[in-house]
């Protein structure tokens, strides 16, 4: 394992530790908590939006206010919640899973964390300006996002904040990548890397290759708003979108792969067997991630500015690697001894509900279909199924599973199951109606609609669903509070899991492993250890 010297000379407590501490575990927890705070803030905006849209007429806010609501909701969720929270799982777990004492370049990692925090705060500070916060959607299409379309400092603050946040996440990903490349413990070949770390590897590769495009796009937009003609005419408007979406599509996979890895890890551990099709998963993750770099033009099908043929080809091809991941999940469950604990419920919920998002994604990957449903509530339903009903379920699978490792105590099972079921009801009630609304002709990003459209009932149902989602989050927070106030100690390996992070104390010591690591002869070293002690089994059998 990688070596560490130097016992801490100054103990880190309180504010100093929060601001300056470089331990990757501490940075990860701070990233997670900050991102979760943005989740709550962005979720509040969503509840306000849904309350406004439940009925025709403006009950809560003005059109200008609503434009800020949906812009900041989407921006907060994508730039400042799901992306950083997904990376934070890796910041914590990757060094542990590969048997390292610390992440690579810990100071760079800390810079990344602070850029993310400052970026988010700056974007939100737009609410304090005269014209309000950014109001050109999370995508800030040009010319609408220019100084004529969206005047005011709030939009400039949004641009700077978003660029900083994205830069911060790039640094977090870079350190993780370097750790996987160069800090693996002896014996951990790439084909013995745990599946979650494989998922983080491709995630970080997408981050470092696609996120720079966003920074370029935002830099150009800022200059454009201050008198420099960066995006002129037809060519410029297309160039902005090509740059933005070169980032904007891979980012949605950055918000997906870590949770696939986590859910597969949970399914394997709580089925009591090794992951099925490990090599297939590794290969399909590489293929899936490469394809995801090649599909961005499907966001531009209605513009007439890109090759719809090429992008529909690559977008539809995504079904192949996606299918292999599902085969791995089902193939691991079959033949197992399945424990339906809370992490397992969320992991299965993730796969099943994400599928509605994924299949509706194949639907919109067809231009003749997309010409109708693009920029309608069909698309809103599609990406909320992938992100909220999908990725966030995967997030909670990871949270319930690794919570004891990070904190040393368990989350309550009963409250966890209650959280799960309320969340299932809430997400489906909110977003299933939106497929029908969009198909019937309801555009997205509208503050109001006419009662003559006949959309009121479905909107009311969707709004009710959003309140139920909010309730489920409250149940989770209650679970956290109760579990913390009356803690039940977890021990090093409460789940009888398979990978190296479970071979140390909960929480791990400063340099992760105090005792010697078990021998690494597969992707499941703890399972190997357990089986050899019991005198049974063997590492994964190769087919005859």
């Amino acid at each position: 394992m990688s070596v560490a010297v130097r016992t801490p000379t100054a103990s880190l407590r309180g504010l100093t530790g929060y601001a300056l501490g470089t331990d990757h575990k501490s940075v990860a927890v701070r990233t997670f908590c900050t991102a979760f705070g943005f989740f709550l803030a962005g979720g509040l905006l969503a509840v306000l939006m849904r309350t406004e849209l439940a009925r025709p007429g403006m009950q809560l806010t003005s059109r200008a206010g609503y434009d800020q609501l949906f812009t900041m909701h989407g921006s907060t969720m994508i730039y400042f919640f799901v992306t950083p929270v997904a990376l934070s799982l890796g910041t914590y777990l990757v060094p542990l899973q590969v048997g390292a004492a610390e992440i690579a370049a810990p100071r760079v990692n800390l810079v990344g964390f602070w850029l993310f925090v400052l970026g988010g705060l700056i974007a939100w500070s737009g609410f304090l300006t005269r014209n309000g916060a950014g109001a050109a959607a999370w995508t800030a299409e040009f010319p609408q996002s220019g100084s004529t379309g969206t005047p005011g400092e709030g939009m400039d603050l949004w641009i700077s904040g978003v660029a900083l946040g994205v830069l911060g996440t790039m640094l977090l990903a870079g350190c993780m990548l370097a750790t996987i490349v160069g800090r693996r413990a002896p014996g951990m070949t790439m084909l013995r890397l745990p599946v979650f770390s494989w998922a983080m590897l491709v995630t970080c590769l997408m981050v470092v290759t696609s996120f720079p495009a966003l920074i370029v796009a935002m830099g150009g937009l800022l200059l454009e708003r201050h008198g420099v003609s960066v995006y002129p005419g037809a060519y410029g408007a297309a160039a902005y979108q090509d740059l933005f979406w070169f980032y904007g599509h891979p980012v949605v996979y950055v918000m997906f792969f870590p949770f696939v890895g986590a859910a597969l890890q949970v399914i394997a551990a709580l089925s009591r067997r090794r992951l099925f099709g490990y090599k297939g998963v590794a290969l399909s993750l590489l293929l899936f991630a490469a394809l995801s770099m090649s599909v961005w033009g499907h966001h531009m099908f209605t513009t007439g500015q890109v090759s719809n043929d090429y992008f529909s080809l690559t977008s539809t091809a995504l079904a192949v690697p996606a299918g292999l991941e599902y085969v791995a999940a089902v193939g691991t469950l079959i033949g197992g001894a399945i424990l339906l604990r809370t992490p397992m419920l969320f992991a299965i919920g993730f796969f099943v509900q994400f599928l509605l998002g994924g299949l509706s994604g194949i639907y919109v990957a067809s231009p003749p279909l997309d010409y109708h449903v693009h920029d309608s509530y069909v698309v809103v339903a599609h990406f909320h199924y992938t992100l909220l009903a999908g990725s966030v379920f995967g997030l909670f699978a990871a949270v319930y599973f690794w919570w004891p490792k990070v904190t040393g105590f368990m989350l309550r099972e009963g409250l966890g199951k209650l959280h799960f079921w309320i969340f299932v009801v809430g997400t489906n009630l909110t977003f299933l109606p939106q497929f029908f609304l969009g198909y019937d002709g309801m555009p997205r990003r509208i503050a109001d609609y006419s009662p003559a459209n006949g959309w009121t009932t479905l909107n009311e149902l969707s709004t009710l669903g959003s309140y139920i989602v909010a309730l489920s989050v409250v149940v989770f927070l209650v679970n956290v509070a109760v579990s913390w106030l009356v803690p039940r100690e977890a021990g090093p390996d409460p789940w009888e899991a398979q990978t190296l992070e479970w071979a140390t104390t909960s929480p791990p010591p400063r340099y992760n492993f105090e005792a010697a690591l078990p021998a690494i002869r597969s992707a499941e070293p703890l399972l190997d250890l357990r089986e050899s002690l019991a005198g049974v089994g063997a590492p994964r059998e190769e087919p005859a």
């Binding site: 959607a137 010319p143 090599k279 007439g304 085969v327 469950l333 067809s366 003749p368 990003r445």
Partner: protein, 209 residues
């Protein structure tokens, strides 16, 4: 005769059943696994054996489905977008979009203008059941012309004239929306389409002139 809603319907007639079938298969697979292999006293998990051939077969099957979907999609898209194949249009409309409204003018009817007025969305007058060629421009930002009844939308792009053909079903008030966020009154940027049978259309054209 092509039409966007006809092509849409043909593609969807393939995509929806395939999608629902996949959804059904996956849900049943998970349900089966969870019920059949639930932990019970005495149950021991089977050691994992990779089945590379099975995985390759499944990947190939999915690739086959993808190929079928793509062929249908690419063919339908070609029919929709290749205006040269649509024959001579029966009627032409010039569409101008701006923040925040629509202006429809008709090259064959000089002087006839349908334009957004305060609190009154404009009416787009067209013959039903015949190819209408629309040429769309924008005065400012990107807008989008969407008539759900024809299952089609197109973006109005800066410094560009966007040409597309539509065949409207008969209807006196088909709804139309701007479908690209364009600022404050994006929600209000609506219009209706009055698609008339041939006799009624001729009568309207005569009156409008």
């Amino acid at each position: 005769m092509h039409s966007t809603q006809h092509e849409f319907g043909r593609v969807q007639d393939l995509y929806l059943p395939v999608g629902l079938a996949v959804l059904g298969i996956v849900v049943v697979a998970f349900a089966f696994a969870v019920v059949r292999y639930r932990a019970r006293p005495g149950r021991v998990a089977r050691p994992t054996r990779d089945r590379n051939l099975l995985e390759a077969a499944i990947a190939t099957a999915i690739a086959g489905i993808v190929a079928v979907l793509l062929v249908t999609t690419l063919r339908a898209n070609a029919k929709i977008t290749d205006t040269a194949r649509h024959g001579r249009p029966a009627f032409a409309v010039d569409v101008l979009t701006y923040r925040w409204g629509w202006q429809f003018t008709y090259p064959s009817l000089p002087g006839v203008v349908d334009r957004t007025a305060p609190n009154r969305p404009p009416v787009l007058h067209v013959p039903a059941g015949q190819t209408v060629r629309l040429r769309m421009r924008t005065e400012d930002v990107v807008h989008a012309f969407w008539v759900p009844a024809v299952r089609f939308k197109a973006d109005a792009w800066p410094d560009t004239t966007r040409t597309f053909d539509l065949v409207f079903p008969e209807g006196s008030a088909l709804s139309g929306h701007c479908a690209q966020f364009c600022g404050l009154k994006h929600s209000d940027m609506v219009f209706t389409v009055d698609a008339m049978a041939p006799a009624a259309f001729r009568a309207w054209a005569a009156r409008a002139r």
